[in-house]
Amino acid sequence: MIMDKNIEGFEELKSQVEMLKNKLSKEEIINERLMRKTMSTRVNDVERYLYKVCAMGIVAMTLVAFDFLVLFPLSIWFVIATEVLLLGCLVFVYFNKKLVSSDNIMSGNLIEERRRLVRFKKREIRYFFISVPLLIGWGTWLTLEILGSAAEKDEMYAFLIGAGIGGAVGFIVGTRMFRKMLSNVNDVISQIEELTEQP
């Protein structure tokens, strides 16, 4: 690698190049379409998160019915309450999803989209803080149901340990997915605010 260190006499030019680079590094490329595309991709990630939650909810409803009515029978009220809770989640996701659209980010009014995203975010956070205590309550009820069931002791403890580990892993993974989704929403809201403030 041959480098020319002989810049004697050209120090002025070199420092002028540095000034140019410094000035340019502070500037932003302005292109609304490019920014909309980036935002739309993020909103698309949020939509995919909601579809995953829906899919898991539907699978969970099926599994609950099969597990707690056939495999490891628990009280019918517990099963009904679980199915109602899961259905409630699906209904919430269905209605909240209406506030999020990657197509609208590309071609719609960004100020209106920002308002919808802010509303979406508030509802999701409220839903999270309501669902956590409900989940704890449901978990307690599940434990009591299992302990009060007619199953063998070994079977009971195996179920409880499995449910406990599964529940903990599910909670951690679910919370991480939720936080990533919220982070995407926050980024898009900030980008819209930045874009719409420009002259």
């Binding site: 340019l24 500037e27 302005i30």
Partner: protein, 160 residues
């Protein structure tokens, strides 16, 4: 397609100073610089699919930028529908830094287009073999041309 667009946006963001400085050196005014900027980004986007990673990304970007500017057709139509710019007018000398940068532009712009490419890369501190890889000549040729370019720049300095 989305992954490619994200990658392209990241590449452009990381190299925007280099790309725009080339445009600035080859253009006479801000509009022309913006046109060249637009043209370079289009060529980079088109070339993304064929970029083989045999060279560094920076080398590839410099090469596309210089090739675009050297062969640019000043009479091309402007496409206002997807206009890209840096929203900066380096031709406006409103402060000392801008005046210094304009001095740099005036000197480099007086060189032949090909020599502008070589001197810009040399001022960036790039080694000869990389300069040769960007502009497509031998290392020896780079060395010979640089000697001549430096003499020309010194002459300009003395005459100014």
């Amino acid at each position: 397609m989305e992954k490619n667009e994200r990658l392209f946006a990241d590449i452009v963001e990381s190299n925007k100073s280099a790309i725009y400085s080339v445009c600035y050196m080859f253009a006479k005014n801000a509009d022309e610089a913006d046109d060249l900027f637009q043209e370079i980004l289009i060529n980079l986007w088109k070339g993304m699919g064929t970029f083989r990673e045999e060279s560094k990304i920076s080398t590839w970007i410099w090469r596309v930028s210089f090739n675009t500017c050297i062969s640019a057709d000043r009479k091309r139509k402007r496409d206002k529908s997807v206009r890209l710019s840096m929203d900066i007018n380096l031709y406006d000398t409103h402060d000392e830094d801008s005046r210094q940068i304009k001095m740099l532009h005036d000197r480099v712009h007086r060189l032949k287009p090909f020599d502008r490419a070589i001197v810009m890369l040399w001022l960036e501190g790039m080694p000869y073999d990389e300069i040769a890889a960007v502009v497509g000549i031998t290392v020896k040729n780079v060395s010979v041309r640089l000697v001549r370019i430096k003499e020309e720049l010194k002459r300009m300095n003395n005459n100014d």
